[in-house]
């Protein structure tokens, strides 16, 4: 059955992900991925895309690289996963390196310093907005809010290591949402 679908070449896989990697300015890579993988190339249908997204958001690691691994694996196995992920990472890595070299050379220039102050201030605004948007979308309930506050205080204020925090808090948070049988729910 699957043989009917044309086999996607590794170079095609790389170029599609590299195009996303080089054009996705300003974050929001998921939207770029959907446009390329579902609308344009039709490698995945909407359900397949959502299923892949669900896994990449739950597993550790960046959503964009996890999506590359999962979609690359589905289409071409281990080699596909590698090629798609490299395509996603490399263009941005080159550009950020170029920006970084410029930054290291110029950062003590007072004009550059004030630009960077403004850029960093704006980046905080972006991060706050993304955090609130995601938080709002999850429609956090009162018991969830408790976990938000506990994690913020432990990691943000007291600098408890992330590993310790996750080991302590994650099982509890998952337990709160554990699947209930009819008997338990009654």
């Amino acid at each position: 059955m699957n043989d009917a679908a044309p086999r996607i070449s590794l170079s095609k896989l790389f170029s599609v992900f590299a195009l996303i990697g080089v054009t996705s300015f300003g974050g929001g890579i998921v939207a770029y991925l959907r446009r390329a993988l579902v609308d344009k190339e039709k490698w995945l249908d909407e359900d397949g895309f959502m299923a892949a997204l669900e896994i990449s958001q739950t597993l550790p690691g960046l959503n964009s690289t996890n999506m590359s691994v999962i979609v690359g694996r589905k289409l071409r196995g281990p080699a596909g996963a590698l090629v798609a992920t490299l395509g996603m990472i490399l263009p941005g890595a080159f550009i950020v390196t170029a920006l970084g070299f410029t930054y290291v050379a110029l950062r003590h220039d007072p004009k550059v310093a004030v630009v960077l102050t403004g850029v960093a201030a704006a980046a905080v605004g972006l991060l706050v907005q993304v955090t609130l948007k995601i938080g709002w979308k999850q429609l956090i309930r009162p018991q969830d809010l408790l976990f938000v506050v506990v994690v913020f205080v432990l990691v943000g204020i007291f600098h408890v290591s992330l590993l310790v925090t996750l080991i302590a808090v994650a099982p509890l948070a998952i337990w709160v949402h554990r699947p209930r049988t009819e008997k338990e729910a009654a």
């Binding site: 669900e54 550790p60 263009p91 290291v104 201030a121 704006a122 905080v124």
Partner: protein, 181 residues
């Protein structure tokens, strides 16, 4: 050489702890690289993160620049590999297991349980960056007023419009140049 090993250790662990995306490890990364290892200053950390917002692709590729600050190009490459490879490898195998667990009610429990943790970590990330980039007690009140104002303006503009976020970052830089320069 030992610096490279240290970089790899720190970023490989961060890679595996990045639940819900790279932003979730921001507070831990700030604490380790700035306060514990003294690889970069708090201001440099905020600036490096901001540069990442100006590049395309995954916004956390900017972590490579911390490696560059510590050990030059070798450090840059080491951090890039350490930060991306372990999580990708884990994802490769875990996504196979996940496919196998299709339909298990525990999948939903994991997702709903982790969501508030990720939000808490992202808030801690806002705080870790904001405590130097938005309100820096070492600077004059008018500078702080401006940086807080830029952040608030960006958050409001992004909530109300569908403008590309990278443009608001550039506008923040322009505001810094004309109002602070």
């Amino acid at each position: 050489m030992s610096k490279i090993v240290e970089l790899i250790n720190v970023f490989a662990l961060l890679s595996l702890l990045a639940v819900g995306g790279g932003t979730a490890v921001l507070p831990e990364m700030e604490h380790v690289t700035v306060e514990r290892c003294h690889w970069v200053s708090d201001t440099q950390f905020a600036e490096i993160y901001s540069l990442g917002q100006l590049a395309p692709g995954p916004n956390m590729t900017c972590v490579a620049l911390i490696g560059y600050e510590v050990s030059g190009v070798a450090g840059l490459l080491a951090v890039l590999v350490a930060f991306f490879f372990p999580a990708c490898l884990l994802c490769y195998f875990a996504s196979k297991v996940w496919d196998a667990a299709e339909g298990s009610p525990w999948r939903d429990a994991v997702q709903r349980g982790m969501a508030p943790i990720v939000i808490g970590l992202m808030l801690a990330g806002c705080y870790a960056l904001g405590k130097t980039a938005s309100y820096n007690p070492a600077k004059d009140w008018d500078v702080n007023l401006l940086t807080l104002g830029i952040g608030a303006a960006v958050a409001v503009i992004l909530s109300l419009t569908r403008i590309n976020p990278a443009l608001t970052i550039l506008a923040g830089g322009a505001a810094g140049l004309f109002l602070l320069g």
